[in-house]
Amino acid sequence: MSVEYGEIKIPIDLIKKIEERVKETEFESVDEYATFVLEEVVKDDDEEIEEVFSEEDEDKVKERLRALGYLD
């Protein structure tokens, strides 16, 4: 069965940010990325949110990466 598509309006600034993010991923377009993220939100709204940077976590992971031989 073919999928039907519609249009939604989102701010241009947000599109530019997504364009930058898409470059770091396997996604081929903003449409593809936005569809994926929205599906995630709709399907898994009880899942964990994206973690943010913390120096404490960075110190912990640095120590572990040293133990595993990734860092001097």
Binding site: E51, D57, R64, L65, D72
Partner: protein, 239 residues
């Protein structure tokens, strides 16, 4: 053709959580790597291919030297096959320039002082890993259509990206779904195997103390990574 999909840091809980049916297959579980002092990538893959715990031998090379480990095929179970194809496996034919650069960028990330600098290095690190992944994926898919009697494709993407992005669930799900699609392209019986899984430390990822296996043929229980040399040889004899 016997096929092994060797995925670094494939995490059991995420394979199930993201419902990756082709990675799970009919039977799947965790491997027991408790005999090793740390879940080190080079030690674990070396132990897999030789069928022996190689921790002492690999660690004797030192933290930097261990990344240059290279076993002769005669010391591995790959020697049992007439025409094996092994892609990018640590300890065997690992593409050194690629993986050396990953570690250099990882070091640069942690040495960077500002958030902007870290962000820029992480972008370069991620792009570098994804570019390599696309090449390995193509090489693996092409090899599936050749006449090799054994094919092993090693995919480092979940480990490399996971170290700096494991807290980014959307990114990790995209990687797991891509690996699941790669598994779907395999038409032969195949084994999925990881060296270890991954634990979340905030936005980062650390190696977990168990690996992952799956098979469409048999329930292996809670095997050691060193058991797979024998398991695969038996599978070859059955064929």
């Amino acid at each position: 053709m016997i096929v092994v999909l060797a995925i670094d840091a494939l995490e059991h809980t995420l394979v199930e959580g993201f419902n990756c049916k082709n990675l799970m297959q009919e039977f799947h579980g965790k491997t027991d790597i408790s005999e090793f002092s740390e879940p080190r990538t080079m030690v674990l893959w070396s132990s897999f291919m030789t069928g022996k715990n190689m921790e002492e031998e690999v660690m004797a090379l030192g933290d930097e030297g261990m990344w240059h480990t290279k076993f002769d095929i005669k010391n591995t179970f790959f020697d049992q096959f007439k025409d094996p194809k092994i892609i990018d496996l640590p300890g065997f034919n690992y593409i050194r320039e690629q993986h050396d650069k990953e570690r250099i960028l990882l070091k640069q990330f942690f040495d960077a002082q500002s958030e902007d600098e870290k962000k820029s290095i992480r972008t370069e690190y991620n792009n570098h890993a994804f570019e390599h992944h696309r090449k390995i994926k193509q090489e693996f898919i092409d090899a599936l259509n050749e006449d090799y009697d054994f094919l092993l494709g090693y995919f480092s993407i979940a480990d490399v990206i996971g170290h700096l992005n494991f807290g980014n669930r959307a990114m990790m799900k995209m990687i797991y779904k891509d690996m699941d699609e790669i598994a779907e392209t395999i038409k032969n019986n195949y084994i999925v195997l990881s060296d270890h899984g991954m634990d979340k430390i905030g936005m980062f990822g650390d190696h977990s103390n168990y690996g992952f296996w799956s098979s469409s043929v048999k329930d292996f229980g809670n095997p050691k990574i060193t058991d797979f040399a024998e398991i695969i040889k038996e599978n070859q004899q059955v064929k």
